[in-house]
Amino acid sequence: MLRIKRLKIEIKTSNGIYGLDNTFTEGLNFIASEDNTCGKSSIIAAIYYCLGFEEIIGGKGEKVLTSVYKTTIEEGESIWPVLESGAYLEISNGKETITIYRVAKMENRDNRLITIYHCGIHEIGSPNKLSEDMYVHMPNSAVNKNGFHSYLEAFLHIELPLVPASDDGTRKLYLQLIFAGMFIEQKHGWADILSGMPVLGIRESKKRVLEFIMRLDTLENEKKKDYLRTWDSSIKHKWDSLIKEIIVLSNRESCTTKGLPLTPKILSEEDFSKISIHKENDSIDEYIENLKEQYNQLTVLKPKIIDNFDEIQTELNATETSIEEFERELYKQRSSLYSENSSIDKLSNNLEIIDNDIRNNKDAARLRNLGSELNLATSKDTCPVCNQVIQDTLIPDSGHLQVMSIDENIRHLNAQKEMLEFAQSSHRKNKEKIREKITHLENSLFTLRSLAKSLRNDLFSINDNISETIIHKRLQLDSEINSLDRLSRFFNNQKLKLKELSDLWKDYLEDKTTLPKKKFSDLDEEKIRTLRNHFISNLTQFGYKSILNINQVDISLESYLPVIEGFDMKFDSSASDNIRAIWAFVLALLQTSNDKSGNHPGVLIFDEPAQHSIVINDMEKFFDNIIKLKNSQVIVGITVKDSDTRLAISKLPADKYNLIRVPNKAFRRLSNGNETM
């Protein structure tokens, strides 16, 4: 729980220190003034500011504060410049009390620095009280040990959940978001339920906050879902890269793969055994076996030429034919590479022209704007002489043609550019493919030629010599066996990895099925029902009239916000009823949290709840309701302009509220400049 106990604001001017010092009690507190512009909101803003929640007002740092903190302070006729300013806020979590000090304006002190004194305001400065410096609104100040908000989180004994963020990561739910549901700010706080919530990159932040305040179990589920989502994408990614690697490497050895599943699936033993690499219709292992056999046969062969002259002759012929074939193929591939290259060149040329065109068209568009600033008639498509409509073109005789506007033209060119880029990239891909083929062909050609050379040497050499061909062939086979062997080993390794991934996938699928089908636990439903009952009973008491049958109001299970027949309640509400709905909902949240031991810190701030000419009776009901709240602190900033409001407050039992009167100007002189502390 959080209680605000005392607020002390100090504004140092050349005419002494101005400021105020107020204590707050448990239960209902009024900050009341006769007039509207005398500093109530400045006081409330100081509370936000000290807690580092100024983003609820809208903005970071001292700029959300009113000018009395920053520039000048008025006293009667005289105006004094502000030299330094800051505020002390004493808060308690029920057991301990700390004081927060944050400056609004001070040379040499960053306003993101917060000092925490482990004592009340009156004890500051006594020797054995500790103080610590912390930061707000810096990167990681919500998670870092020295971040004020992570300190506050620990101080309030709450544990903020990790929630999905809009950038697909997870982030801690920010305290500012939670307190936006309790501190209703004067201006945009009254626009809609929870409308003061700052945007901090949390997905569905309103929903998350409500879940947290009511402590719903769904938060756990959502978290798990999110975790599974990342798991899913990581497996898919790994699987994909594994498969791609296998395919690329086996293509390099001109092998084909079979039975490779392209997306993750659970691999049964049978599936697993079907995954294989083939070369020329044999599986790779068989092929390697074959090669080895050939190799062995060669070793058995007599390496003398005299013994196999005929064989050498026929083999030479065969080799030469295939060399010719390969050469033809190579020639073909080379010429298509050339044509690909030339079309890429052409396209790049065109792209350059189009880029130039786009740039100049953009220039033309801006020149046209410049022209219309100077009131040039041509920039408005009218003729400067006869004021008739003209087309924006200098092409002669274009009267009958319809012409694109410059913006259309730019879009048109951009579309062309995209098309050309697409064409270019596909040509590049082709080029890559052809290159690969060419290198492959060149390699094979090289092998064949050296084979042919050895054969020829053998033919013309002396009969008793050792056959070069056979040795050559042996070497060739040896290297091929080696590289295929390597591929096969690599493939088997990858297969094991694939198996692992498949097991992971299976785990993932299992986990996915264990996710509860029903989104809410029974307790959650109970909580939401309680929220609804409180909300409706509050609405009835505050005199909500925009719908006849108030029992039509329901709490949406999607957003946890009130809806009528599935539509946001706001659409059907009058302006003042919208205010009533905000009262009712904010109070109902606290009531529900009290009833069902939720996470509500038990403090509410309403700045000017009397918006849109609320009837005074309803106002009284609102105060009555607040007084009835147990275990809570409510601070209400209110203008007591008319006797009605005064009457409404005086009707309340005197011991049930604490009235802080703000006189004509909230900040009075505390001391003169000579006796600074």
């Binding site: 065109d357 410049l370 022209g371 400067p384 002669p396 694109m404």
Partner: protein
């Protein structure tokens, strides 16, 4: 013959707007001409010069040739292209009060025109290539050079 179209009622052709090259946009061409008068001329600019520089700006190659001519590196620069778009743009610019024609036939910028050019020059993103080239060319391409060139035409075309 006239009724032989079977589905003439069912198919409608709608003319789609045509793209216009930037060189034929009124705003672009007017701005270009104003820039030429401002950067490349002293005391007025002839129509012929506007044509030559305007064409010279169209491609990189043209830019080089024109510059060589202006810096006297070329002896023969025979082909001068005339683009009716330039004439059109000059007319629009006069009507819009950006430029005016002096007694001697040369064009100058009006006050509005000067203001317009000033703004264009101030914006460094706008027409940067054109500005760079024109300030390179500066006033090197004088009216005298153009006159000398045109007087050559008389002889060369007399032969044809």
């Amino acid at each position: 013959m006239d009724n032989s179209y079977l589905i003439a009622d069912e198919i409608l052709f709608e003319a789609k707007p045509d793209a216009v090259p930037y060189n034929y946009r009124i705003s672009y061409k007017m701005a270009q001409l104003c820039l030429i008068i401002e950067i490349c001329c002293r005391g007025g600019c002839s129509l012929l010069k506007l044509h030559m520089i305007s064409i010279g700006l169209s491609t990189k190659q043209d830019m080089e040739i024109l510059k060589d001519l202006a810096y006297d590196k070329l002896t023969s620069y025979t082909v001068v292209r005339f683009d009716p778009a330039v004439n059109h743009a000059v007319r629009y610019a006069i009507a819009d009060g950006l430029i005016f024609q002096q007694q001697n036939g040369l064009f100058r910028l009006t006050k509005i025109g000067k203001n317009y050019v000033k703004r264009i020059i101030k914006d460094s993103q706008l027409m940067s290539d054109e500005k760079r080239y024109l300030s390179l060319l500066s006033t090197m391409l004088t009216e005298e050079k153009i006159k000398a060139l045109t007087s050559l035409w008389r002889y060369s075309s007399a032969e044809d």
